[in-house]
């Protein structure tokens, strides 16, 4: 069970301000999501993840990157080729 304090802590870490009235619904949602994933805990461990497939590697070869305009278009704000982020310090 996730508590309201834990939700508050996560919000703080993510720099998201949430109001007092939002706490109960967020806590409910958190728990609902975790309950949903708890189904996975009941899946028997087996063939997939622990099947011993290891060392999936690619060769060290350069492939094209995206054009700068395309990258900056993804951002809310850009300046001199940089992506502009709100004050973080």
């Amino acid at each position: 069970m996730v508590s309201e304090e834990e939700v508050l802590r996560i919000a703080e870490l993510a720099d998201i301000g949430i109001g007092k009235e939002e706490l109960p619904p967020f806590t409910r949602d958190f728990n609902a999501i975790l309950d949903y994933f708890a189904v996975l805990d009941r899946v028997p461990p087996g063939e997939g993840w622990k099947a011993g497939i290891a060392n999936v590697l690619r060769e060290d070869r350069v492939t094209p990157s995206l054009p700068q305009e395309e990258v900056l278009a993804l951002a809310e704000a850009a300046e001199d080729g940089y992506i502009r982020a709100p004050r973080v310090m």
Binding site: A14, I53, D60, V71
Partner: protein
């Protein structure tokens, strides 16, 4: 992880457990330092995507793709060479490679990460339990390596506004996803000087392995854990240069000693090193270790590469090369240490071997050349080996005095710096009249002119300064312009001094 507090062999340490009093060793408190060193591996492409790592001279955000931007639906694909490089380092640092290593997600929110997490290794690192021997005061000192792991470099932030009042940040993700190797030491270091030596040792080793270029800006970053025995541990982050490490640690020791002297307690905290001001400032980090919510990276398979290690051939490492240099060339251990302390310097020295006198070459490369390079903040790579070898050859054959050779060297380096073609030592000597023969020749001509131009000589001695210009002109004519007028004026003045006074 806590810093173990224990007795060191052979040291007279009195512990006052839990009292917060610093232990005293030889009249001073024992300083305990451990480092976390991050080095960029010089692969062609990034750790989990094909973007080029050669980004330094390019505009921001031009070496990025959906994977290193963390766009939805993208998947990481692990770079084989990065793993091989990390294994080389693990072997060179005498580490045990894990049977199975795996990547984990370290979750935190900061704009240098696009995904909201950094892919790193956490409780299953690639290798553990190694060591590196460094130069100690007197004997060599063994520094234990706790662990080695791979991780992706975050993006680079530029804070706009003033340091006290930042307004916003600019982000460049070209660096995001560059492979980093993190090397963590045990708290075995006892002074900023030792920390610097360890760092130099790591740099040299990684350069000998060919996996790292320490000259690249920002290729190295260090976090240091530092405490005065009996007190809390402080983590200093954000050190990004070799000199910075010594500076940051020295500052931090002074600060902690000051706190203790005032009868206060050193607080356990994270501090930032501000390179420009040479100080550390308290950085209230909101995350505690458990806030990172580490978990296995589900998009990557584990690594089972321990058996690769036997197949890896290590190149000659610094310690072996030092021994070979003393044995093969008969040079002093001190010279061997200086020369082998930098891969390019060691290679440069070996290129000088054909000059026929290794002892002379060692002195000139390790002492004279190094000194002149440091003075100019110049790299050895800029010096043309052939020209330097010619100079050494002339020294061997005693065609040039030590003093003149230093002058020639300085002029050669200045030509390198200006991007001019470097002249041969003989040309430089002649042009600047540094050679014995050249100087004698000019003095001879000067005497000739003095003997032949009696009128001008009388005028000069009578106090008519312009007569000197005439004499200089006469000598210049006879040397066909080869002489430096300033130097000629000096010789002329000397020769024109009334004798016997």
């Amino acid at each position: 992880m806590t810093v173990p507090i224990g007795m060191e062999a052979g040291s007279a340490v009195r512990e006052t457990a839990g009292s917060g009093l610093a232990a005293v060793e030889g009249g001073r408190e024992t300083v305990i330092i451990g480092l976390e060193v991050h080095c960029q591996l010089n692969t062609e492409s990034k750790l989990f995507c094909g973007c080029s790592t050669d980004y330094r001279s390019d505009p921001p955000n031009t070496h990025v793709c959906p994977t290193c931007l963390g766009l939805p639906g993208s998947l990481p694909a692990m770079n084989r060479r990065a793993v091989e490089y990390a294994l080389l380092v693990a072997k060179a640092l005498n580490c045990r490679v894990a049977d199975e290593a795996e990547f984990a997600r370290k979750n935190y929110f900061y704009p240098d990460l696009t995904k909201g997490f950094q892919i790193t290794m956490y409780n299953r690192p690639l290798a553990e339990g190694g060591y590196l021997d460094i130069e100690g005061d007197g004997a060599e000192k063994r520094v234990r390596i706790t662990r080695i792991h791979l991780e992706e470099d975050p993006g680079r932030l530029v804070h706009m506004g003033t340091p006290d009042r930042p307004r916003y940040s600019l982000v460049d993700y070209n660096r995001s996803g560059i492979p980093l190797i993190e090397i963590v030491t045990e708290p075995d270091l006892r002074s900023p000087k030792e920390a610097r030596r360890l760092l130099n040792g790591l740099r040299t080793t990684l350069e000998y392995l060919g996996v790292f270029d320490g000259d690249q800006e920002g290729s190295l970053r260090v976090d240091a854990n530092i405490s005065i025995r009996g007190s809390e541990r402080v983590e200093v982050k954000n050190i990004s240069s070799y000199r910075g490490v010594e500076k940051a640690l020295t500052y931090e020791i002074t600060r902690q000693r000051g706190v203790l002297r005032r009868g206060q307690k050193v607080e356990r905290e994270t501090r930032h090193f501000v390179e420009a001001r040479g100080v550390t400032t308290s950085a209230r980090s909101k995350e505690q270790e458990h806030d990172y919510r580490y978990f296995t990276e589900p998009d990557l398979r584990p690594l089972q590469v321990r058996h690769w290690v036997e197949g890896i051939a290590l190149p000659e490492l610094p310690a072996a090369r030092r021994e070979r240099f003393t044995a093969q060339y008969g040079i002093s251990p001190e010279h061997a240490r200086t020369l082998c302390g930098e891969l390019r310097l060691a290679e440069f020295f070996e290129q000088m071997a054909p000059c026929g006198n290794p002892l002379l070459a060692a002195t000139w490369v390790a002492d004279t050349l190094q000194g002149e390079l440091n003075y100019r903040e110049m790299e050895i790579g800029k010096v043309p080996p052939a020209r330097f070898r010619e100079l050494l050859g002339m020294l061997c054959r005693k065609e040039v005095t030590d003093k003149a050779a230093v002058e020639v060297l300085r002029r050669m380096l200045d030509q390198c710096l200006k991007g001019e073609e470097v002249q041969s030592p003989a040309q430089i000597m002649e042009k600047n009249m540094l050679g014995k023969t050249a100087g004698d020749t000019f003095t001879g001509i000067v005497r000739e002119v003095i003997a032949e131009c009696g009128d001008a000589v009388r005028d000069y001695r009578a106090g008519r300064g312009e007569a000197l210009n005439f004499l200089v002109g006469q000598v210049m004519k006879r040397t066909r312009g080869r002489a430096d007028p300033k130097e000629l004026t000096r010789i002329l003045r000397e020769e024109l001094e009334p004798q016997g006074t």
